[in-house]
Symmetry: C2
Subunit: 362 residues, 2 copies
DNA sequence: TTGTACGCGTTATCAG
DNA sequence: CTGATAACGCGTACAA
């Protein structure tokens, strides 16, 4: 739009100087109430719109930060986006969304673009770039808060849910129900959330004196969960429950199990992770581990704003997760067709089915 | 970051003038290959990063546009976002995401913010602001392409799927299967997609000589679909199928029908709209109307880029939709338990509980 | 309480 | 082929 009104126009209109107009508009410095009114008035009349770009150039800031995430198609992220935007608004900041598809190059490009636009900071989920690069960026002034990921090598501030505890709790729930042969559908190798959720699962299994069950990997999408469950079904090792590293894969897995003729939760139980809205309306409703979305967002944003104000990067925070029991989990089947003997209370799960556990496990 | 290198630094380093450096960097104008190389070289050495803000101020542009949508939590939108970003990249543009929660004020604020940041255009889904305001914005220079919504009063360019044909086809599918009592779960009143999908449904019913069945409204979320289905079940009017205005509500409806003890698709059929990924993994897999996501995105972006280049706003485009038959639809039950008489083909709903609206509601 | 003058980093116009 | 010079719109010491 050619000829948008500027503070110069207002200055001319009010007979004041541009700087006075500028201050009056922002209510800063000592300005007589009368002139403030005059300025406001003609600003309204002339439809004055501050030019954020010019402002950015002058103050080297933009009152905005970015939220980088690997895949908005995963319903967990939109929910988080909302929470982050809400909190950002609370600080008077606007947030730019960048989705990277988990591609490191895309992350790099985005970071570059953001810096070039005076975007002051980033809340990033599932960063794929190296700790080295993160450190470089941080060193050159960019404020980064890693959300839901170990800040690789302490290279950036971070907040995350306690994924390990989540894996532990999910597995514990299944064990409590009597399951012994528990499979796991993990996330993509190399991500800390993948590792940590798996570690929780493994630890709890070991505590029960049981070797972890069959394992398959997915990429957190429903289709990958579907595929992974098919693998598990056809791998030859029996299981009566699956702990999935996220809800979307759990939904995919359920679909696959159903297609394989299995009934839930009577024949096989499934636990997810995240507690996405959809899980509540799935059939059966999904038992899962809830991540504290709102707190995660709040802490991350507040942390970033702190960094922006020059505060030191604090210790990584860990937020507690919570088990949500719904319909997708139940006790394992008492009898597995074609197999007579009950299961030993420890050791490797025998090939084939298992039965009710005994209490000594605990 | 204090002291980022600028073209002045490069000028000093190369012994050239800032303007020459600027041109060399952009490969514009007549510059000797030698100096270009020198400039490029020291740019790399000094880690020069162009300042997009300064550039924007100078050229009044930003090579980026915004994508505004009402609710990223609806899985249909993330898919669209990806498609739009892909196409934008093709034009060398970056896209800013703005989600408005369907709040008109938020839309206004975003538009304001975008203009103030020299964002040149917007692809907007489900705009809630008035045609009046759209026209004002367009008049003041902002380029707007309405996606998936009638450009209210031709106030902006637009592309959309053929929602009416979609509603018609969904209903047709159900009728072909033998259903006669077909309910509809519509979207929020006042949205053109809501109206159009409903109109398609109504028209097809009338063509079959049948009065439209019971109607309930949702807001496109799964929870609203759940609630709407409960309303339908308890409204007293029988139906053997539901056409839902989108997949998410269909999923919620299925959950509610199940809870009510109904079996799908043997006792009741459900058709959705959108064809979100999740529908494929739902149980039963969702029969739906597929929107041509990629084309929608491509056309919208190309249209916007055209406007940016000064082209005229062309006629609204309509893209064809497609029926995807999966597991959630089947022939209606031959006998309806507890009801002797076959369903009347028309009739007023009995008093109590129902949410039957007359056309005026739209 | 208000005004002057300059800087922010880049592009564009017009001379050389 | 290259170099001054002036915008772009706003913030801010410094002065009045």
């Amino acid at each position: 739009m050619p000829g948008a009104t500027t503070i110069y126009d207002l200055a001319r209109a009010t007979g004041l100087s541009p700087s006075t107009v500028s201050r009056a508009l922002r209510g800063i410095g000592d300005i007589s109430p009368g002139t403030v009114a005059r300025v406001r008035d003609s600003a309204a009349r002339l439809r004055y719109r501050p030019n954020a770009v010019a402002r950015s150039l002058a103050v080297r800031g933009s009152d905005s930060f970015a939220l980088m995430l690997p895949d908005i198609a995963n319903p967990f992220f939109p929910a988080l986006v909302k929470a982050v935007q809400l909190r950002a608004r609370h600080h008077g900041k606007t947030v730019l969304l960048c989705n990277t598809e988990g591609v490191p190059e895309a992350e790099g490009e985005y970071l570059e673009m953001l810096a070039s636009r005076q975007i002051e900071g980033v809340v990033a989920m599932g960063l794929a770039i190296t700790a080295e690069e993160i450190r470089r960026r941080v060193g050159s002034g960019m404020k980064i808060v890693a959300l839901d990921r170990a800040a690789a090598g302490g290279s950036a501030a971070s907040v995350q849910a306690d994924h390990r505890a989540g894996g532990w709790t999910a597995t514990d729930h299944l064990l409590e129900l009597g399951h012994r042969a528990i499979a796991h559908i993990a996330g993509p190798a190399g991500l800390s959330v993948t590792t940590e959720r798996w570690e929780g699962y493994r630890d709890r299994m070991h505590e029960a004196g049981i070797e972890p069950g069959p394992l398959a990997h997915g990429d957190f999408s429903e289709s990958s969960g579907h595929r992974a469950a098919q693998e598990l079904v056809s791998c030859g090792r029996r299981f009566t429950a699956i702990f999935c590293a996220n809800d979307l894969m759990a939904l995919g897995a359920i679909s696959a199990l159903r297609s394989a003729g299995l009934e839930l939760p009577s024949q096989v139980s499934v636990v997810g992770f995240d507690d996405i809205e959809l899980g509540r309306y799935a059939v059966p409703a999904l038992t899962t581990i809830r991540q504290p979305l709102a707190e995660l967002a709040r802490v991350a944003v507040d942390l970033l704003v702190g960094l922006l104000h020059g505060e030191e990067s604090p210790e990584p925070e860990r937020l507690a997760v919570e088990l949500v029991v719904r319909e997708s989990t139940a006790a394992p089947p008492r009898l597995v067709v074609g197999l007579g003997a009950p299961l030993a209370t420890s050791g490797i799960a025998p090939r084939g089915g298992e039965d009710v556990r005994s209490r000594e496990d605990f």
